[in-house]
């Protein structure tokens, strides 16, 4: 009961943090839409071409936009010593990683969900594909949050090169992009592709707390 209360209070803290940094979320979404416009201008006004490339463009930009927020995943709380304070207040490092991943998914990834229908209209994506795009985004973005947690915690160990985390996320998310885009164009193998994506989600979800927790522990020990 006490742990549940602590978790609820943790999310109250996260809510306050993300609310105070709401401009970051707006910047991410602005980056997403400005990039879509740049693609439209560079590809040209052909509806057929946009419709063909649209889903790939949306997924690529979603990935790039979500990597923009990775630096804030643990960095601020780590530098201000809040990770240590949470640890002393009964949150294990693994639990902190897990809770932070959920809050990244809710406060950073989910706002993109509202942007997808508008982006789909801009890129002339057929209406019937928007549902599958949203479904693939829901699963895929949860995977990206888990990968983001691992790479951000690794970044704390290598503080001279912040881009390394983004490169790792982009590399590891290649299968996510392949299956997420594949879902939308496949009618026959739809269920099996969704199952593969959910499988990847489960694997990253299981690895994330232990990998991130271990990185946080080493980072705290090294930060004497």
């Amino acid at each position: 009961m006490s742990l549940l209360k602590k978790i609820i209070n943790f999310y109250y803290r996260e809510y306050k943090l993300y609310l105070s940094g709401f401009h970051d979320i707006l910047t991410n979404i602005s980056f997403f839409f400005i990039s879509i416009f740049i693609f439209i201008f560079s590809v040209g006004p052909s509806n057929e071409q946009l419709s063909l490339l649209g889903i790939g463009i949306i997924w690529t930009l979603l990935l790039l936009s979500s990597t923009l927020s990775l630096r804030k995943f643990y960095q601020d709380d780590f530098e201000s010593g809040n990770i240590v304070l949470l640890y002393i207040n009964g949150f294990s490092l693994e639990l902190i990683s897990l809770l932070k991943t959920f809050s990244h998914f809710f406060f950073v990834q989910l706002p993109f969900l509202l942007s997808i229908p508008l982006a789909s209209i801009l890129l002339n994506i057929p209406f019937e594909k928007i549902y599958t795009l949203i479904l693939s985004f829901l699963i895929g973005s949860a995977i990206l949050s888990s990968l983001g947690s691992i790479s951000s915690s690794m970044n704390l160990l290598n503080r001279k090169n912040y881009l390394l985390g983004s490169v790792i996320v982009i590399l590891l998310s290649i299968p996510v992009i392949i299956f997420s885009v594949g879902i939308i164009d496949q009618n026959e193998n739809f269920n099996s592709l969704v199952s593969i994506l959910v499988g990847i989600l489960m694997i990253t979800f299981a690895i994330n707390p232990w990998a991130s927790g271990a990185c946080l522990k080493i980072a705290i020990e090294n930060n004497q």
């Binding site: 209070n9 943790f10 943090l17 105070s20 304070l85 949470l86 002393i88 705290i220 004497q224």
Partner: protein, 201 residues
């Protein structure tokens, strides 16, 4: 309560501290002294189970600390040399967040009284990023009252504070010890309080 037996810490074959024996019982104030970089902060982090000692053992209430962490953390407040407040939130919002995270039972009027005593009451609705270093330190120290725990582990708690505030904090330390609490602190300034033991690093 807390007992360390011959704890040592080495990093890359470099000695950080060696064979420290310490016994912290109730109503005791222990002060760690030493030049910058002598290992005081690392020692405090070892006491908090954040850093694993190279050798030696730490006990809490007669049990190995590692096996009794949950009870230990219920009794410890740690103030580091950093500012843990969220800079984009107001002073009052930070207090609210801390109260929730530590499941504090402290009453509003007690918080109000402490804020007034520390001359922070008028700043309640100011964002933390507008506060001075001394005010930030006072806000950090407010967590001692909010948490209301037995053992205080404090890393440079008096830095950036003016004489009046140092006296108030010294009085708070004494009250805490009179209520069977205990304190272990590092400081370059000696507060006007009765220190039970000094350990040189």
């Amino acid at each position: 309560m807390l007992l360390t037996q011959n704890i040592s810490l080495f990093r890359s074959n470099k000695k950080i501290f060696e064979n420290i024996n310490l016994s912290i019982n109730s109503s005791k104030i222990i002060m760690l002294k030493g030049r910058n970089g002598s290992g005081k902060t690392s020692f405090l982090k070892t006491l908090l189970n954040i850093i694993e000692p190279t050798s030696g053992t730490i006990y809490w209430k007669g049990k190995l600390l590692k096996n009794n962490l949950s009870d230990y953390f219920k009794n410890v407040t740690y103030i580091s040399d950093k500012t843990s407040s969220v800079r984009e939130l107001t002073l009052y919002e930070n207090i609210k967040v801390w109260r929730k995270i530590s499941l504090s039972n402290i009453k509003d009027d007690q918080i109000e009284k402490t804020l007034k005593m520390l001359n922070l009451y008028n700043l309640s609705n100011s964002k933390v990023n507008t506060l001075s270093l001394g005010e930030l330190k006072k806000l950090e120290l407010l967590r001692l009252i909010i948490d209301n725990k037995k053992l205080w582990i404090l890393d440079e708690p008096l830095t950036n504070l003016d004489t009046d505030t140092i006296n108030i904090i010294g009085k708070t330390f004494e009250d805490h010890c009179n209520n069977k609490g205990s304190i272990i602190l590092t400081s370059h300034q000696k507060p006007e309080i009765r220190v039970s033991e000094e350990i040189n690093f």
